[in-house]
Subunit: 156 residues, 4 copies
């Protein structure tokens, strides 16, 4: 887990997010990693491999979307009660440049955290020796689903 | 390739789409299949496997998005000149029900095919013994990129 | 109120929608009209006037959006309990052709009506002597807000 | 025209944008004003009047959308050649809080300005004695349409 920025979520929140991330079969299949968890802001990283490309060799918009959606979902989760789950209601994503580079960094940032719905900004950057470039940008709406206290055992 | 509906694209178009689909590393990784190619309408199918799930065992929104984006992109491609390529500009997707079932069927349907931009409707259905249910719906904007005749060798 | 199609909502639903529509200052300012109310499907019409145009003389995307949003919102409302209100969570709209013609017809159709959220398809057509043409297409997410029975007095 | 921030576009760009804005019948009907033009960033303001409201007295999502779309479109235009026009391809907008207050400020900011397509971030704030609050956020895709030099007479 990265510690390069000063602000990280509490250990409890980091563990809850990492535990949930590790249960996502798709994240494992893609080879994606959870690289930073801060209150309202989460980063997921994906290395460039042939297995995640489209027909021209760039990273497939579906893989870019998957890590963006996951980053936004967990960003929203960091601001919810410990027993809540979060579901993506919808999202929109612009693919603004070909996703080429060593790896992608997807960042989800909470714009608004409401009682029922949350809104996140989604950004995906391609990182290479030439620098860091925005390859996708979008916005996501999520709904919080309260958990059942008897089944969770999570302390605040 | 399915032949259950009367309308299919020409052999040339089917081969062009299948050839492009087979070069998509992500489609192979997910285990997705191109199951129908008609003018302006393409279907991609994805079987439920642990490797494509999220933390609750449903198919991950990223996998649902990947097959929807691919279906729409190829639907738009069927209506373009043989040397053209298509790129996703953006898309929006609502996840309307948990993606649970034996497999998902993603259908991209062209709403408008313009000189530069095309618009597609995206629908994803979950199929199980209980029937067929809409799990995602959205809309996608694509841009056509003219190819270079000298490099293609594709006959009309 | 148009009666050209066989399926209309009940008198109670029509009155509820028309009453709400008449309280929308923007609809009156634009000169828009509620022209059909069916369960899960509502149509709003806008005549072409200089006052609703953009700099090239076409109807402004904002006016197209306003009638599309209103049509979708009321389509969702027709399927909710009499005391509910509906709010737009978000929507996406593609402007697929210049909005030119005698008038626009915006149609909102419910794709999914859930306990909390509804999803609507949005379509706007321009009508002229040359026929009827799709000028905008999109999708909208709405949230139902339960009303308070003591303040409504509406019978089921 | 506001001069409260140090960075403004050139006089030529401001005049081009203001001239185009003044030709928008809908902006005049709504009573909206163009309040700041900077390279890649434009602000449009709308005062709260009964004529722009929806059934609960808040400013109608359609009016919020209209000023957001206009702000984004002109933000993109400031970065295009003098003879170009800009058209909205599509946009998505989340309504994150009721639009209540003295007036709304819509800000369009260019995220990416390409040869053909531009992407803008849209934000709308409600301003009142209590402060400034985000009421809508979204993203917009635009297409540049080259003008014909013989018809424009605009100097660079």
């Amino acid at each position: 887990m990265s510690d390069q920025t000063p602000e990280q979520a509490s250990r409890e929140v980091i563990d809850r997010v990492q535990g949930s991330f590790d249960r996502q079969g798709l994240m494992r299949l893609l080879g994606a990693q959870l690289t930073h968890v801060a209150p309202g802001r989460v980063q997921v990283t994906l290395s460039h491999r042939d297995e995640v490309t489209q027909q021209h060799g760039y990273i497939h918009a579906g893989a870019t979307s998957a890590i963006a959606d996951t980053a936004g979902g967990y960003a929203a989760l960091t601001l919810m009660p410990p027993t809540s789950e979060v579901l993506t209601v919808e999202y929109k994503l612009n693919l603004v440049a070909p996703a080429a580079g060593d790896h992608l960094e997807a960042i989800g940032t909470v714009l608004k955290s409401g009682r029922t719905l949350s809104i996140c900004r989604l950004e995906v950057f391609a990182v290479s020796d030439d620098g860091r470039k925005l390859v996708a940008a979008g916005q996501q709406t999520l709904i919080g689903v309260p958990g059942t206290p008897s089944t969770t055992g999570v302390s605040s």
